[in-house]
Symmetry: C2
Subunit: 140 residues, 2 copies
Amino acid sequence: MALPNRPGTTSSEAEAVLFDLVDVYDRAYEAAAAELSLSPAQACVLGRLDERRGMGALAEELGCDASNITQIVVRLEALGLVVREPNPQDRRARLVTRTPRGDDVNQRFATAFTFARTAVGRLSPDEQDQLTALLRKALG
Amino acid sequence: MALPNRPGTTSSEAEAVLFDLVDVYDRAYEAAAAELSLSPAQACVLGRLDERRGMGALAEELGCDASNITQIVVRLEALGLVVREPNPQDRRARLVTRTPRGDDVNQRFATAFTFARTAVGRLSPDEQDQLTALLRKALG
DNA sequence: CATGGTTGCTTGAGTGAATCAAGCAAATTC
DNA sequence: GAATTTGCTTGATTCACTCAAGCAACCATG
């Protein structure tokens, strides 16, 4: 299990709940990925492939180096969850697509990662709206 | 930058804001650690050392293998931020303490990691209470 | 067109986090 | 006092991540 991104001290109660939330969320994400024998990074990339797209687009969206994506995609490909096809428009580029098995695993991941669904589900529709508004405001 | 723990699809708005929140939080934590040339895991361990404690206690609190803690502490020790002293009560065990430099770096990390403080600070005291209550309820 | 720069991706080297298995020494239990 | 358990470290392995370098293919511009 990955170490939490949790500071040592907390000044307000609201902050403390926030830390808890992030911690529980991250662990749930990791656990859901692990159920399918995926790393969090692999689950994340797999989830972005509803449409076929290039390596560079993935790197940019996910905010990391292209070579990082290469590695992760290579592993997903080795697992048979993804294929890299040549891009007919640009022979340098490669388009990544989920295989049917990849679709299946991705679907099962979405089912297994219940955290956000469950958490939001504990709130009434009104409360959900309040939460949304408060978090939007807090995020600035 | 680490890949986000973000699923591919989102069903409700509240969920989407939650994903954003976690994403922004994690990136802010990582960035604050990076400012001090620490990894997130190192910053996390350093933050737990307000009192001296054993390796095992750290591992248990942070929910990971003891050997993982060993590595991280070894690196923190190499950076001069932490020392491992023998435990007079139990000669198998070792107590980890921050050095003065460790205290300083930890303090500067706490200052640099403004995310939660800033986010909560955008809310009025009433709103903070509402948020706390909603998140508590959502966390179950 | 040629040639020079840019883009898209991969490779290689290096670091760190994480896990598991194995080991060792000190403590505990019986 | 022998067997077990506890606390930690070591070693091996995997993966994520970054940076630098490289290689094609694309795209100017003259």
